[in-house]
Amino acid sequence: MSKPRVAIFDFACCEGCQLQIVNLEAEIVDLLSIIEPVQWREGMSDHSDDYDIAIIEGSITRPEDEERIRKIREKAKILVALGACATIGGVNKLKNHGPLEDMQKTVYSKDFSLPHLATMQTKSVADVVKVDVYIHGCPIDKKEFTYIIRCLGAGKTPNIPDYPVCVECKKAGNICRYEYNEICLGPVIRAGCGAKCPSNGFWCFGCRGFVDDPNVNAARDVMEKYGKTMKDLEEKLMLFNT
């Protein structure tokens, strides 16, 4: 079986998820044993538009992005959303919280209306085209990334958790962040990260997005019980716009 040809594209993002791939270091050689990269701006100079798998990093924030992602979708047999910006819109969605023009002025002041600075409400990749595989997180988890690539190489649908971060947090033997009177998003956020943030002394920031069926009503109740408000919770959720 010939190796699948893989192209990696970046949209609006910090390119930190691609950096995680570069950070695989020695394992990149293993990675290359099952895929053949044909286009990867951050990792190689060759360039081909003939690919099987398109890996998309970043969110869709400009009209021309929409056009570009649609073209990629047409060519790719499998389209992979890489990292929070691609999977859920991520931090780029912060700008959806107010009138677009205000946001533009805040960022670009008097130049805001220059044509090359045109922008629109942020969308996740799935808001525009069909996504086949999600690699969640900000940044992505290297272990999960390599697992998913191996699955793709073997023609297997990867097992991506549809349960909350609490599962992995409990397995790690952590003390619940609510015991420190902090709002942690763990109970409604998709696991798969190994509860990295709670294991290192932070609450869950929500970078992997909601589980399929988050219990928002329960969250309301929990805020009350811990002397917090829904506004406190919403502020926490705003960062990744889950």
Binding site: D162, Y163, P164, K170, K171, I175, V211, D213, N215, A219
Partner: protein, 339 residues
Amino acid sequence: MGTKKVSQKDFEKWVEKLIGLQKVFGVQSKDDKYEFGALLKAENLRLDYDITILPPKKYFLPSTEQLFSFGESGFNSSVDGEPFILFGVHPYDFVAIRQLDVLFSMKNNDVYYQTRRNAATIIVCDVENISENAFSGFLGFDHVEKGFDLLVTKTGSDYLVESGSDKGKKLLSLMENAVDAQAADISKRSEKWKKNRELLKKQLLKANVNELPAALGKAYDHKIWNEKAEKCFSCGSCNLVCPTCYCFDVQDDFGWDLKSGERTRSWDGCMIENFATVAGDHNFRKNKSDRYRHRYYRKGKYVPEKIGEIACVGCGRCISACVARIANPVEIFNAVAEA
């Protein structure tokens, strides 16, 4: 099999000796809480703990473990059978291990569990401080009188150490300056057990435990399942911190050659949304309330009908672990007993 009395200082010396002898896992502090971990120094051992974050079952059923690897040489399984000492297991947690012993050998023997279990020497210790949600006193799991390898009880400034097996006896023989416990010492311990039985009743269980399977049998349509489950995150926290939960998931992963690889199992929980989903995405327990009820039926009816003992040991970990505060078995058991 004989009970010894030893001073605090000689007790610590003995612990130090055990650490030199075998791998020892003991209770230590973690922030303002406690956990079982590799014990490197006797002084780190905290037998005055109230409860550990996770129960000691992780030494027999690790949160994730390899079932086997596969490759050109076929399927290869191995499990570490190196002897170890598990130091400071509270009686209720020991009861849970005893239950898992039965369940993992029932009909089919689980060789991974069994190998680790056989490798362990379990040192039970009586409870010194009471955790906020304990109710083992209502269940008779506040102390144990048999089954352990060693039982440690603090009486005043001394320790009483009883051996309950040959393994325990061997370790106990290493203790220096130990004297035979006298009737007065033993009665001090009995006093402590009596006191602990009353203290370990922080959550007021009114239901009669023996009648619980029958009461649950009649409570299938009780409104409490829905009421509680509405607030459930399906996060499985109650399952994962439970000393008697033992359900697991199985997953495969390849190596980079896409030929070799491994199969692992890891803790799972019946409260998690897709626990009962089959291929084709049909979920046989789609409703939260069905999953919620299932958990309490396992604890109070299904497993007890198999092993003859309630499968909740009253540790109260689930009560503390549930952010939504809906996971109190005492509330459930009281409600169904009243119905």
